[in-house]
Symmetry: C2
Subunit: 91 residues, 2 copies
Amino acid sequence: MDAKKVEKISKALADPNRLLILKELRKNKNCLYCTDVYEFVDLTQPSISHHLKLLTDAELIIPTKEGRNMKYELNNKMIDQYVNFLQALKA
Amino acid sequence: MDAKKVEKISKALADPNRLLILKELRKNKNCLYCTDVYEFVDLTQPSISHHLKLLTDAELIIPTKEGRNMKYELNNKMIDQYVNFLQALKA
DNA sequence: TTGATACATTCAAATATTTCGATGTATTAA
DNA sequence: TTAATACATCGAAATATTTGAATGTATCAA
């Protein structure tokens, strides 16, 4: 994983609301609908949409269109790659 | 590790110059002097000082005063704790 | 003690990020 | 086809981060 990607993922993780989203994703068996997010994140719809976009752009979550809803799943592989980079720092 | 700490560490990792510093720290057997940083980071002294402070505040590096120099060492334990948080997201 | 070196701090400008109102698009229900 | 729902996008304001010039402090060398 190159430095630019690490930077992007780190930025995506550097916000309390986005961390909340990831935590809830885990709770919900790594699957979440956009509408669900309004329940635990105290922001307007455009803001939530923005945060989900940043997480998606960092490939930490993977979106799927389901009718007029969006389904989000955690991307375990990307987390693994990010962790690998961090572990390599210690080597 | 609580969300605030994760946020702080993520922010510290979300900058190309700080990532460079961490990478060079690894190269130099996890030990670096402030003066060394000028060689590979193209910023002025106050900026470098600022970045080192953010990394220190996040406890990713541990500073030691050695005469008029500062020695910086990577804090493996903090990286481990951060990695643990990330791994727990997948669980 | 004086000058130089190493680093920190302060302040302000430039830049990036976060947030939301307004609005647009796609899908579904009636 | 019309109205409602789900979400995206745009634009602007508020806030945070990054950067460097100026300056301060501590240490060392002469």
